[in-house]
């Protein structure tokens, strides 16, 4: 039976789609049949980040409305075996995401995949609620910044009360924190919430810390999930994150300040 994982955050622009793309790619790279679904109906972007925007013919809503079958709508990734993308509709409105429709598609995907990754839209409206409703596990993407942390806490509340697992009194959705855009030097200086600060406030387990990195923008420019840039800091951080998700115990990198020389400390900007 497949595991359904929602990538969520409440706040927009914190790195949900970046995380969904890299997480799904990482799982597939490690040999698991993985599909990543864009739930952001009307504002799809996962296709761009995955670099398959020109191959979209049918979408998630077409499948829900029985206008296309899954085989027609799923896009097979050209770089990584076992990886498929189900794009969101760009034209329909979010009301098209019915609970029954989403459930039917997810059930069908569960038959054929080991991991189903749901890329949630921002907010707490229908799209976001549908993305998390059927989840078994959740990656809560948070930036070390007040509004993001507050919104993440709100999403944790919704996961604990409005997911199917919560409604049916099942084992709760397993929550993982992904702290993205982290700058250890700024945290060390007291200008940014530290990893420990965020963990203390949210009280969930840390799956990975993704450093603030130019590689994220560069890889999105090219339509390549940053995890495939494995010599970059963000790429290797996502690699570790996926390994940890699969049960490996790895120390967190990019959480402490790199030692600087005296001259650098005196004259090295910032």
């Amino acid at each position: 039976m497949a595991t359904v994982i929602v990538v969520t955050s409440g706040k927009g622009g914190v790195g949900k789609t970046t995380t969904s793309a890299s997480f799904a790619t990482g799982l597939a790279q490690r040999g698991y049949r993985t599909v990543v679904i864009d739930f952001d109906v009307g504002l799809r972007n996962l296709d761009l980040i995955m670099g398959c925007e020109r191959r979209v013919v049918y979408d998630f809503i077409n499948v829900i409305n029985n206008e296309a079958n899954l085989n027609q709508a799923l896009i097979r990734d050209k770089r990584v075996e076992n990886l498929y993308i189900l794009p969101a509709s760009q034209t329909r409105d979010k009301e098209a995401l019915t609970k029954d429709g989403v459930e039917r598609v997810l059930n069908e995907l569960r038959q054929n995949f080991e991991y189903v990754v749901c890329d949630s839209p921002a907010g707490i409206e229908r799209g976001a609620l549908m993305a998390l409703y059927f989840a078994d596990e959740a990656l809560v993407v948070t930036n070390p910044e007040v509004s993001s942390v507050r919104d993440s806490d709100r999403i944790l509340g919704i996961l604990a009360s409005r997911s199917r697992r919560a409604e049916q009194g099942d084992i709760p959705v397993k929550e993982h924190l992904v702290l993205a855009r982290y700058a250890p030097e700024r945290a060390h200086r007291g200008d940014m919430l530290s990893v420990d600060d965020v963990l203390e406030i949210l009280g969930i387990s840390l799956l990975g810390v993704i450093p603030e990195s130019p590689a994220v923008l560069q890889s999105s420019n090219a339509g390549v999930p940053v995890i495939l840039e494995d010599d970059s800091d963000a790429g290797s951080a996502y690699g570790d994150l996926v390994d940890r998700f699969l049960g490996k115990s790895l120390p967190h990198r990019f959480v402490t300040v790199q030692k600087k020389g005296l001259l650098q400390r005196l004259f090295g900007g910032s």
Partner: protein, 93 residues
């Protein structure tokens, strides 16, 4: 200034991150409103209370409010039942 910033960054004032953490802890605790520890017996308690009250007075589901508040270490269970008007009460026996 950059040079001096580095030298004197350990100012007696609280760092902005410490301020952020404190503000977040307050607002998040407030907004949770007992989310993590909200007892799951609350809906059942409400239903059973309503059944007991209904044995004697006819009240509507919407006329009963059960609320759990936390005031420091003290938890207050507040039960609020709006009884119907006299003539309506006569209607049931």
């Amino acid at each position: 200034m950059g040079m001096f910033d580095n030298f004197f960054s350990r100012s007696p004032n609280k760092s902005t991150a410490a301020v952020a953490k404190e503000r977040l802890q307050i607002i998040v605790t407030h907004e949770r409103g007992g989310r993590h520890r909200s007892p799951d017996y609350l809906p059942a308690l409400k239903k059973e209370l309503l059944e007991v009250v209904r044995k004697y007075v006819h009240v509507d589901q919407s006329q009963i409010k059960v609320h759990l508040d936390r005031d420091g270490d003290c938890e207050v269970l507040e039960l609020n039942i709006t009884l119907p008007d006299e003539e309506q009460r006569m209607g049931v026996s």
